[in-house]
């Protein structure tokens, strides 16, 4: 059995048969996972310095050089690396007195931080499968982002206390601005206008407080509140839609969860995208008391000035590990990153590797290198490599850069 690192569900029941240079047959991998495995065979990186192919040793030496001589280096990426690699990354940041940040700072960071600090109650996905009778997808469309979420945990499987079929024993609620693939399957879909999440949450709180809702179709909203009240065990899965809409008003969501817990039992599991983003955030929290956006210059400092979006403009060198910020970030930030001395560790070509001064190819984790990662719900999953490869893992590359420094 192999583990799929295609998303933060880290499915552990994958069976693959190989032939040279291709996958002969894969069982239980969803289409997204299949694409992730297939990616192994195309667009691989080679070691290069300033666009010219070099040896791996030269690329590593040059990378160490750039980072050592930088005044204000930024280390970024991390959510597609194993816990082991992330640990070395954090050590490297300390040694360089660098800034370090990951994709969570413009993704699920806000919510995940509250979950990790115990401010929002959470549970494992196995608990969801065994006990939940209400699943709420809010601004999330797992059918596309985490294809096996509904079938493995949140809607269709039988669980220890959910022995009957989903029609009888589970409700699935989708709150979204559009009728997504998941919305088509759920038992109750609520369309909200863009940015309407706060009002929606307040309306539910109002009904729970015995007042009339001032938002949406009153009858349906009251119906939803009563589904919420009757639940034995509810699980809320907030997606980026909710995070981006609430930005500075996250306490409204916290209030709603608190109110729901007065009437029943509700847990929150943020829909983390990359396979080990939560792992990085947990390590950082242990190490610094914060989940991201840290500068190790003269101690430990936390703040948005250390986030990739801000630091990209001020840093003179940037190490990117397993991430493609040049295509993910807004143009202005991407441009400043591209102008800095960019060192990239990545198994595959991307806009970011194409713009980099130094490219160091790495083994694809989960496929060519082993390690541990943290699933979106906090469960630690170990994986072994399933393909033989003489490429170094992120961890080994980072260790060598560290030694060179």
């Amino acid at each position: 059995m192999a583990v799929c690192t295609g998303c933060s569900l880290l499915c552990e029941d994958i069976e693959v048969a190989l032939k040279t240079g291709a996958i002969e047959k894969a069982k239980n991998l969803c289409r997204k996972g299949q694409g992730h495995f297939q990616a192994l065979f195309s667009d691989r990186t080679v070691p290069s310095v300033e666009g010219g192919e070099t040896s791996l040793d030269q690329a590593i030496e040059k990378a160490a050089n750039i980072l050592m001589n930088a005044k204000d280096p930024l280390l970024y990426g991390w959510s597609n690396s194993s816990l082991e690699a992330q640990k070395v990354g954090i050590e490297l940041a300390k040694k360089l007195e660098a800034k370090i940040d990951d994709t969570s700072s413009f993704c699920q960071g806000q919510l995940l931080e509250r979950v990790l600090k115990g401010e929002l109650p959470s549970c494992t996905l196995d608990d969801v499968r065994n006990f939940a009778d209400v699943s709420v997808f809010w601004g999330a469309d797992p059918s596309n982002s985490h294809p096996r979420h509904l079938s493995r945990f949140s809607y269709y499987p039988r669980g220890s206390k959910r022995q009957k079929g989903y029609e009888e024993e589970r409700n699935c609620v989708v709150i979204d601005v559009r009728k997504s693939s998941t919305a088509k399957l759920c038992s109750d879909y609520f369309r909200i206008p863009p940015g309407g999440d706060a009002e929606f949450a307040e309306a539910i709180i109002a009904i729970l407080d015995g007042k009339m809702p001032r938002f949406g179709d009153k009858k349906r909203m009251i119906g939803l509140a009563s589904i919420f009240k009757k639940a034995d065990f509810g699980a809320i899965f907030p997606g980026l839609g909710l995070v981006y809409s609430l930005v500075q008003k996250m306490e409204i969501f916290e209030n709603l969860v608190a109110r729901l817990n007065d009437v029943s039992n509700y847990k929150v599991v943020p829909m983390v995208g990359h396979y080990n983003m939560r792992g990085f955030n947990e390590l950082m929290l242990d190490e610094t008391g914060y989940i991201n956006q840290i500068s190790f210059k003269n101690g430990v400092h936390h703040g948005s000035e250390n986030s990739v979006t801000m630091a990209a403009k001020s840093s003179d060198a940037c190490l990117v590990v397993g991430s493609d910020p040049l295509s993910a970030l807004p143009f202005v930030i991407a441009r400043s990153l591209a102008k800095s001395q960019l060192v990239v560790i990545d198994p595959r070509r991307s806009l970011t590797t194409d713009a980099a001064k130094v490219v160091i190819p790495s083994a694809m984790s989960g496929l060519e290198s082993g390690g541990k990662a943290v699933r979106m719900d906090g469960v630690r999953i170990s994986f072994e490599p399933i393909f033989e490869s003489n490429l170094l893992s992120d961890e080994e590359i980072l260790t060598r850069i560290m030694e060179a420094i």
Binding site: D13, I14, E15, I23, K25, A26, K27, N28, L29, C30, R31, K32, G33, Q34, G35, R129, S143, N144, P147, R148, L150, S151, R152, F153, Y155, Y156, P157, R158, G159, G165, Y166, S181, T182, K184, L185
Partner: protein, 152 residues
């Protein structure tokens, strides 16, 4: 998907009863459930219906790929999400420690599995839609987010 009405509109509508049915609509229904073939309607092969015959052949072509139970899989639409695999009552009954609890199938008596990122039908004769006592189960189509499986 094809409806009996669409088929009916392309039939001669002469009610000649040569196919053994009292109306062309009845034949249309039989064609749809694949109990009869176009060849069972002799009038249709009159040259004046050549156009309609061609259209009918086109219309009914997808039905020929269907399994014994009428299941058609559209690979290109499938997410490989396994909702159908986990919801299928036969999978649940035959595979309590695998597909019933959301994991990959552990029994070879299951009907639906995921291979190479898309769904596959292994044992169509186990399906509740199979055979004389069939029932109109729709657990797999109702749980599909992309209409990647359907029955004809």
């Amino acid at each position: 998907m094809v409806s009996a009405m669409e088929i009916y509109q392309l039939l001669p509508q002469a009610a000649c009863k040569e196919c053994g049915y009292v109306s062309c609509m009845a034949l249309a229904v039989a064609l749809l459930s694949r109990e009869k073939k176009l060849e069972d309607c002799p009038s249709l092969f009159d040259p004046k219906y050549a156009d309609k015959l061609n259209k009918l052949k086109e219309l009914l072509a997808p039905l020929e790929q269907a399994s014994e139970t009428g299941l058609i899989i559209h690979d290109e639409k499938c997410f490989g999400c396994a909702n159908c695999v986990v919801a299928c009552p036969v999978n649940v009954a035959n595979d309590p420690t695998g597909s019933a609890i959301g994991l990959g199938p552990k029994s070879d008596k299951v009907i639906l599995v995921i291979e190479n990122g898309v769904v596959r039908c292994l044992n169509p004769n186990e399906c509740r839609r199979f055979g004389p006592n069939r029932i109109l189960c729709n657990a797999c189509t109702a749980t599909c987010p992309s209409k990647a499986i359907e029955f004809v």
